[in-house]
Amino acid sequence: MSRLVNLAIVVGGAALLAGMMLTNPDYNSVVRPFVTKVSAGDTGETRMFAGRFEAWRTADRVSFDSLGTSVTRDTEGVFLIVDLELSGTIRSTMVDTIWEGASKRRYASTKRVANVPRQVDQLWLQPGLSSTTFTVFELPPDEIEGGAAGGDYEL
C-alpha cells in the first residue's frame, strides 16, 4: 500500500513539473503586446492608451517637409495613411503602429516617412489628453482591404 502511495507521489510530482515546464511561457510570449483590434471608425482601449481609427487613404507618392527639407517618396506598392486619435490612460506612453494585412502579415510603419510633425512616432501620449495623429505604411495593394491597424507601446 505504502509503495503505491509513494509511487503516486512521484508520478504526481513528475506530472506537476512536466505541466509547469510545458506551460512555462517563452520570452516572446511574455513580451508580446496585448492586441485590441479596432475597425475603421471605432474606438478601442488597451492597458496604456485608447485609440480611435478615424480614416484611411492611399497614395502612390507622398511629399512632406522633414527637418526643414522637402522630401518626396515613391513606392512600388502603395502608401497607406491612417488617421488616428489617441489618448493616454494611466501613464505617459510612446506608441508604435503596425498594419495587419489581409494575408495576416504584419507590417511596421514605414521609416521612409519620418520626422513629420504630428506623425505617431513624434507623439508622447499623456494620461487624460487626446492627440490627433497619423501613421504611414508601405504595402502591396492587396493587403489593405480586410486589414487592421494595431498599436504597440514603448516607454
Partner: protein, 186 residues
C-alpha cells in the same frame, strides 16, 4: 497511522523543495519586480521630504496653459536634492501622479525644452534629475534640476511629484506642490 506518516512527510518535503525551487528560479525576477515600481510611497504634507538620506524639495512650480489647446497645460518644476547619500540613489525617476494613480513623465523633447526656457525665468540649472545627483554644489547647497510635464488643466491643483532612485525603490517620496499659473508669451 505510522504507515501514512512517512508518505505525508515525503509529500511535505517535495512541496518544500518545489517552493524553494520556485523561489530560487524566480529570485532575480522578484528582485526586478521589486525595483521596477514605487511600491512604498511616503507622502509628505509639505513640498519637502527625505528619502534614503537625501532631502528632496520643490523649489519652483509654475504652469502655463498651452496656447490654442486650453484643455492642457505645461508644468515646470525645479527640484532640489541635497545630502551625502545622493550618489547612492543611482538613476533618478521623477513623475507627477494624481489621486487616481495616473502618472505623467517629464517631456524629453522640444516642447519640454521650450517650456523649461519659458517658465524657468532664466534660472535654469540646465540639468535633469539624474545629472543633479552626480553634480552636487561644492557649498553643500541643494543640487537643482528642471523638468517639464504636459498635463490636463483640470489636474493642476491635484498633482503630486513622486521621486525615487534605482537603489531606493521600492521606496519613493511624494510631495505636494501648487504651480503658479503664468500667461503665455505675447
Amino acid at each position: 497511522m505510522k504507515r501514512i506518516a512517512k508518505p505525508l512527510a515525503l509529500l511535505a518535503v517535495t512541496l518544500l523543495c518545489l517552493g524553494l525551487t520556485v523561489l530560487l528560479v524566480g529570485w532575480s525576477d522578484i528582485q526586478e519586480l521589486r525595483r521596477a515600481k514605487n511600491w512604498q510611497v511616503t507622502e509628505f504634507p509639505d513640498p519637502k521630504g527625505e528619502l534614503a538620506g537625501v532631502t528632496v524639495s520643490v523649489d519652483q512650480a509654475r504652469a502655463m496653459i498651452v496656447p490654442g489647446k486650453t484643455d492642457r497645460a505645461v508644468v515646470y518644476l525645479r527640484l532640489g536634492l541635497s545630502g551625502e547619500a545622493m550618489a547612492d540613489w543611482g538613476w533618478c525617476n521623477v513623475s507627477l501622479t494624481d489621486p487616481k494613480g495616473r502618472e505623467w513623465f517629464p517631456l524629453f523633447n522640444e516642447v519640454g525644452n521650450t517650456a523649461i526656457e519659458l517658465l524657468g525665468d532664466g534660472g535654469n540649472s540646465g540639468q535633469s534629475c539624474d545629472s543633479s545627483l552626480r553634480s552636487p554644489p561644492e557649498d553643500g547647497g541643494p543640487s537643482f534640476s528642471d523638468q517639464a510635464f504636459l498635463v490636463p488643466v483640470d489636474m493642476l491643483d491635484k498633482l503630486r511629484v513622486e521621486l525615487s532612485g534605482v537603489n531606493t525603490r521600492p521606496k519613493a517620496v511624494s510631495l505636494p506642490f501648487k504651480p503658479v499659473l503664468r500667461l503665455p508669451p505675447g
